[in-house]
Symmetry: C2
Subunit: 316 residues, 2 copies
């Protein structure tokens, strides 16, 4: 698959940060940034820009806040580096402290939102647009929010936002390729002047194939993570995606190196991937929190009990 | 997805046996058989029927030979058990020793063959058919053998064999969903009176999604294994497939139990799954042997070196 307009965004540190409270060292992040940049990836999403007044800076690592100085420690001296992206949550950004884009260490801001919060997400993204940033809106949990509000949200982001791309997010890792086809077609009825993006979760080992399916149907902004690292079951792996995309600007080898030098070891202390409670949550279209919780208890491998509890809670 | 005509075949012990020289204990196999049967799976493939004159019975376990008495130790006393399937390789079966199907502990024989060996595979399968067995022909390595011989083989199995189903096998785990769509359409041009089957490998985390894709295009015989256990990267996981198929006869819970009681522990001593050299082999459409070999050496995680070697060998 070769399509010039495809953009790959690595969100390893941002999505993976949800697993370890964003406690990656600057050296670790810098190695990942260098490798991802050498691999030809377009964007490197490094974390969230939460106000340090809202969360403890001793409990959480630097990538929950993404201070300009922290980002520059990572990017300084890296040639031809990928553009830096950060994620912004409605109500958690210190708006007065923001720099205009031309003075900032990051280029793009993605605002994540459920369908029901789309008004505020558009307003926030547009504030960043006015400061000169590239912006995206990531619409989450679309396997659940399938009502007419979804159509309204699609129409609204098209009309009111300046986002470059609207991401369709399978937060629960529960969608099959037919669902992706239908979802992209539904979004395209409304979103005609912006790019579409896709962000999958790998609960059912479908994050990569769903990403391919989205590409087939014209989606151009693609999220992936090194070795699939990310919350719960993790994400589409970057090494699979780069291997599929035939654009010669991509080189899988620096990603293979990062897995060997950093991510194999990380996997020994942080959990992500094909883990049965996460598979069950995906199959039943449930939020990952219950599975994350059960993995911290002695019942972590009591699969039948977890399954029966999830089936019941789905019927509430 | 509910389709009455879909048949699920669990080949955990047969494909997984390639990893440990078929050295599963009778008790282990019996527990798997009971669980898979309770899950409502149609067939349980237990091993190969190789002649004990051709391979060492001390080096290899019972499931490389599948003596009638060994199978009966597993199936005796199990109510409503799945039908037993065995695999036969051309030239390795002791034909004179075969029982007619109505006296045999197994019901179905699947003959595995490369495209170029299809004549002999048809002849062997038909011998079993004449003895009263259900038969299938599994056409291997179809990501490689894409020449006009493939069309001839499809025409020939349709015309000359009595097989119930012709399996399309992605031996290298290298096919994407578009490849599956095209392959099934190509097979259907010739194979009009028999069922089609699909057997995937999970090198690129696509075994499940490719199985779904095959279902969408009318394939009814589906292979899967418990927790994905199988050679190299393993196979489509049974628990994912049963969760996707909405036929109420399937119950995922006994499979979840087997993972908790047996397969989590097994994974600690046997290697299968998403492992980077297997991913590379799949991405480059290569036979799994080189990746299996490198995993036994000190270079097991020297991914870049392995990648560059595989790229070069693909250009030979």
């Amino acid at each position: 698959m070769y399509r010039e307009s495809i953009k790959v965004l690595d969100c390893t540190i941002r999505d993976g940060g949800l697993v370890n409270k964003h406690q990656f060292t600057h050296e670790f992040v810098k190695r990942s940034y260098e490798g991802v940049s050498k691999a030809g990836v377009d964007y490197f999403e490094i974390g969230y820009i939460n106000s340090p007044n809202l969360f403890s800076t001793s409990e959480y690592g630097p990538w929950k806040f993404c201070a300009q100085a922290d980002i520059r420690k990572v990017t300084d001296g890296v040639e031809n580096g990928a553009k830096i992206s950060v994620m912004a949550d409605v109500g958690r950004v210190e708006m007065d402290a923001l720099l205009p884009a031309d003075q900032s260490a990051y280029h793009m801001v993605r605002v994540a939102s459920y369908i029901k919060g789309v008004d505020k997400a558009i307003a926030l993204a547009n504030r960043f647009h006015d400061l000169g940033y590239e912006t995206c809106i990531n619409l989450m949990a679309l396997s659940r929010d399938q009502g007419s509000e979804m159509d309204e949200a699609f129409a609204q982001v098209e009309k009111e936002s300046h986002a470059k791309a609207i991401y369709l997010v399978d937060s629960f890792g529960s969608m099959y390729q037919e669902d992706i086809e239908k979802l992209v077609a539904r979004a395209r009825q409304y979103i005609k002047t912006k790019e579409l993006g896709f962000h999958g979760h790998n609960n059912q080992q479908l994050a990569f194939s769903n990403t391919i399916e989205s590409i087939i149907h014209g989606v151009n902004y693609l999220d992936a993570t090194i070795y699939g690292m990310g919350r719960a079951a993790g994400n589409c792996t970057l090494e699979l995606l780069l291997g599929f995309l035939k654009n010669p600007k991509f080189d899988i080898r620096p990603v293979l190196d990062l897995i060997a030098t950093d991510y194999l070891d990380l996997r020994k202390t942080m959990e992500w991937g094909y883990i049965i409670p996460h598979m069950i949550a995906g199959q039943l279209n449930q939020h990952p929190q219950d599975a994350l919780d059960v993995r911290k208890t002695d019942d972590r491998d009591a699969y039948r009990r977890f399954y029966e509890r999830m089936v019941s809670s789905g019927m509430d």
